[in-house]
């Protein structure tokens, strides 16, 4: 599939790089002891350090360091045993120190990779340039007063991992797949909750276009996108804009842009920073961050299985289709649910029931997997009752619907509604005899070669049994009787 975009002067290649800010999962902030909890009142989760009071000093949170290393390992990246915190100096209302403590020349994590799969079945390896730790800024509210902005520093100092990709992405679809995959990995690792609505995961998207084979074009950076949809929409809008500008004889300026969700367009930021000159230098309040390879190895040993590995295992060991495996591994919760439901059972049948029936029902009910009225154990029990012949697949669907509705166990529903499958040869033979007796004309037609009618007899027998007859036995016995 070609990613080239058709313009008036020919085809254009899109080049995208992403900078993702992922909030580190931790109880307290990167350099202070105040809480990272979401939703507190204004300036409640703020210490004197976060408010940059005179003489306040940063002390680093060990868990945040560990989380960054873990994430680096999950991205198969180089972990730097020595890294340095720098100050990035600029003035902004929600940046109390007048600088952000970040990592510039020596980040904690170096180059890594992330593999994305697209809907056409292709997969692409996207390079990770680096991952570094830094402080989040506070929040400005601009719409509360006609001439004032209100500042809340609750987020000020919260630990972020900035994960920078190489400019390896070639389409909005790829960018969407990248952020989804990254989010999935972070959630598997437990290093970021990936909650985009709450701002735990935000992306800056660098976009440029060029004629295939030409050197890189000038890029723009669209900042602070907080949904997969907005990321993809903003890329399409920006690509279209850039091609139009260039084909119209204009020029693209390296600038920071914002995505306007109401118009679906990007626009240049009005508060254009004069020239960016961040005057990075090593933060003299901190020392180089060092740890041992042994420490990294310990973290590596405790790393959970990641979606790529799990997917391969599901295909190879469980015999799942790669589509099912992809669906079941996309979210860690899904994979855990599936593992629990399918352990010790027919993995394929469980996979099928999850991806078709359960997801279908959840979707219809507007529920997430976490809200599922059917537990993994309950789903497993249902599958057991199918495979041991207690109920037919047909009945199982009704039982499933009932389970979803009431949250009751499958066995209880079958018991109370008397849905047990009939596998008694005599009983089934009696029903078949009745069907034959009542449809003698059809029996004759069948015997005269109208094979298609076999299905009719199966259907009538099943109907007579209220769906409870064992379909395999019905088939077998019918064949004998109709000979």
């Amino acid at each position: 599939m070609s990613n080239l975009v058709q313009g008036q002067t020919g085809e254009w290649e899109v080049v995208i790089g992403m900078e993702v800010h992922a909030q580190v999962t931790s109880d307290s902030k990167l350099f202070s002891g105040s809480s990272t909890a979401f939703g507190a009142g204004p300036n409640q989760n703020v210490s004197l350090v976060d408010a940059a009071m005179p003489g306040m000093l940063p002390v680093i949170n060990g868990t945040c360091v560990r989380q960054a290393i873990k994430t680096g390992l999950g991205l198969k990246a180089d972990i730097n045993l020595t890294s340095v915190f720098d100050r990035k100096n600029y003035f902004y209302a929600d940046l109390p120190q007048g600088y952000q403590i970040s990592q510039f020349k020596h980040p904690i994590v170096g180059e890594g990779v992330l593999t994305i799969e697209l809907s056409d079945g292709s997969s692409h390896v996207i390079g990770i340039e680096r991952l570094h730790l830094e402080q989040d800024a506070g929040k400005s509210l601009h719409d509360q007063h006609p001439s004032k902005s209100y500042i809340d520093l609750n987020r000020s100092g919260v630990a972020l991992m900035e994960i920078v990709s190489k400019p390896d992405l070639r389409s909005a679809e790829q960018a969407g797949a990248y952020i989804k995959k990254l989010r999935s990995i972070l959630r598997y690792l437990g290093t970021c909750d990936g909650n985009m609505e709450e701002g735990s995961l935000r992306a800056d998207v660098n976009v440029s276009v060029r004629k295939p084979g030409a050197p890189l074009g000038t890029r723009t950076e669209t900042k602070n996108l907080n949904s997969v949809r907005f990321i993809m929409q903003s890329i399409d809008a920006e690509v279209e804009r850039q091609i139009e500008v260039i084909e119209g004889g204009g020029e693209i300026f390296q600038e920071t842009r914002l995505f306007d969700t109401s118009t679906g367009m990007t626009r240049a930021m009005r508060s254009k920073e004069d020239a960016h000159d961040y005057r990075y230098f090593p933060d003299p309040d901190l020392l180089p961050l060092t740890f041992t390879q042994n420490y990294v190895d310990q973290i590596a040993a405790e790393l959970p299985e990641l979606p790529d590995d799990l997917r391969v295992r599901m295909v190879n060991d469980y015999g799942l289709s790669s589509y099912d495996a992809a669906v079941l591994t996309e979210e860690r919760e899904t994979a855990l649910f599936y593992e629990k439901a399918s352990i010790g059972r027919d993995r394929k049948i469980v996979a099928n029931w999850m991806s078709v029936e359960l997801f279908g029902a959840l979707n219809k009910a507007g529920k997430t997997l976490a809200e599922s009225p059917i537990t993994p154990v309950a789903l497993g029990e249902l599958v057991d009752l199918i495979t041991d012949g207690t109920i037919s697949g047909r009945i199982a669907k009704d039982v499933f619907a009932d389970m979803f509705e009431t949250g009751k166990a499958a066995a209880n529903i079958i018991e109370s509604k008397g849905l047990k499958q009939v596998s008694d040869t005599g009983a089934i033979e009696a029903m078949i005899d009745k069907v034959i007796a009542e449809n003698q004309d059809k029996v004759d037609e069948y015997r005269n070669g109208k094979d298609k009618l076999f299905g009719f007899f199966v259907g009538q027998t099943m109907k007579l049994s209220g769906g409870q007859a064992n379909p395999g036995m019905v088939n077998q016995l019918l064949k004998n009787k109709l000979k």
Binding site: S26, D27, S28, S32, G33, S34, S35, G41, P42, N43, Q44, N45, V46, S47, L48, V49, A51, V59, I60, N61, G62, T63, C64, V65, V84, F91, A93, S140, L141, H142, H145, P146, S147, K148, S149, Y150, I151, D152, L153, L258, M269, R270, S271, D274, A275, D277, R279, P282, P284, L286, L287, P288, L289, T290
Partner: protein
């Protein structure tokens, strides 16, 4: 390396310090005097010398991840020139 009026304007802007136009010339002179005095460092051979950022011999100490601070909104905003319902207030920012 010499500082002119324009450079003074640029760095004053970076540092967010208003410098009156008629003061730039004099300031450029003062800064140049200091900078040219500083430039004697150029004569020191620093090839293969590692920069020294900190004199302490120890590595960065690490603290446990515990919520041990916060919930002191009153103290945080007590010294602010302008506040409203727990927020700091500044002239409107246009993004």
């Amino acid at each position: 390396m010499s500082v002119d009026n324009n450079t003074v304007k640029k760095i004053a802007r970076l540092a967010r310090i208003h410098v009156d136009e008629d003061r730039r010339e004099a300031l450029a002179g003062e800064l140049n005097a200091i900078l040219s005095w500083i430039e004697q460092l150029e004569t020191v051979d620093t090839d293969n010398v590692e920069p020294l950022a900190s004199v302490t011999g120890h590595s960065l100490p690490i603290r446990d991840d515990m919520v041990s601070d916060g919930n002191r909104q009153e103290q945080v905003i007590a010294n602010a020139p302008e506040t409203t319902s727990g927020f700091f207030v500044v002239p409107k920012v246009v993004e």
